[in-house]
């Protein structure tokens, strides 16, 4: 029973990964919106784009980590 509950918990933790995807999409969408308004400034900001995506993704990765811990470590 406890193992099954851990699997359900892992599934719920997996939701966080999907929500982080919204955040990553938001970063990319806003970058694209800005880049289309001022294409000449876009090239210099791609590094910032990737850093922003990485930070947004980090929180999704934490929930992925919780899911992994529930699946294999608990």
């Amino acid at each position: 029973m406890e193992g099954q509950l851990a699997h359900i918990g892992a599934g719920i933790a997996g939701l966080g990964t999907g929500i982080a995807a919204l955040g990553v999409g938001n970063v990319a969408a806003n970058f694209l919106a800005g880049a289309l308004r001022n294409p000449s400034a876009a090239a210099s900001q791609t590094a910032t784009l990737f850093i922003g995506i990485a930070f947004a993704e980090a929180l999704g990765i934490f929930s992925f980590l919780i899911a992994l811990l529930l699946m294999f470590a608990v």
Binding site: A47, F50, I51, A58
Partner: protein, 256 residues
């Protein structure tokens, strides 16, 4: 990761997938079937050594002729060198160029290991947390020690946000401190998680390919995922390297 072979059980019962999608990450001894000890030569050892060999051939032998009209391998080596050099200069500044060899090593190792892992039948070393945690901890320790050596105790002013109102500063200091120590965790798990998840998804689709009704869809999906994985292999190496540059910049210039 999953250490026991689930695939064998499922095949014996005759139900479900013929292999488990996590089976590809099992660490096995290269010779014989003994226990995996401290100094056992495993498939991880083989593929780590192969990535070093590939980097050596590309960067040392490829550029040894120093032709004015570069060969294909020399072009790739020069492109990679220029790309990382520009990135370090842009993100960290001129004084960060002293640490360019370390960042170049990190990038070349991760990108080569990722691409070698995409070969059929190969083993993806960067999908293991043990490998990426070592890389991330090395960056974390380097950056922390460097920060204290370069700035002394004033390195701690990184956590004391002087532009914020005085009442907020202690709370911000705690948040900054926690986020500083979470860095190696997110840094390593981002790389291993992305690589591992992509490879597991490919194997899940490969399991469906055995069912005749869905096999064309499944093979198309494998092709599409493989294309995405090629992109991910490069982008994750790039993200790991650029975050190293950001952390290095924080250590060299801790004042906001």
């Amino acid at each position: 990761m999953a250490t026991e072979t689930h695939g064998a059980d499922a095949a014996a019962e005759g139900t479900g997938l013929v292999f488990h999608p996590m089976d590809q990450f099992i660490v096995k001894p290269l010779f014989g079937h003994g226990e995996v000890g401290m100094l056992t030569i495993t498939n991880v050892t083989l593929w780590l050594a192969l990535s070093i060999l590939v980097i050596f051939v590309l960067m040392v032998l490829g550029t040894s002729r120093r032709a004015i009209v570069p060969s294909r391998s020399q072009s790739i080596a020069e492109l990679a060198y220029g790309f990382i050099h520009k990135m370090v200069e842009d993100v960290t500044g001129k004084d960060g160029l002293k640490y360019f060899p370390y960042i170049m090593t990190l990038f070349m190792f991760i990108v080569t290991a990722n691409f070698l892992g995409l070969l059929p039948k190969s083993f993806t070393t960067t999908s293991h947390f043990a490998v990426t945690v070592v890389l991330a901890l090395a960056v974390f320790l380097t950056v922390t020690i460097l920060g204290f050596v370069k700035n002394g105790v004033s390195f701690l002013s990184m956590f004391w946000v002087s532009s914020a109102p005085l009442a907020l500063r202690p709370i911000l200091a705690i948040i900054e401190l926690v986020s500083y120590f979470v860095r190696p965790v997110s840094h390593s798990i981002r790389l291993a998680g992305n690589v591992m998840a992509g490879h597991a998804v490919i194997k899940v689709f490969a399991g469906f390919a055995a069912i005749a009704a869905v096999s064309p869809v499944s093979i198309l999906a494998i092709t599409a995922m493989y294309g995405l994985e090629i992109l991910v292999a490069f982008i994750q190496a790039y993200v790991f390297t650029i975050l190293t540059c950001v952390y290095l910049k924080d250590a060299l210039h801790p004042h906001h």
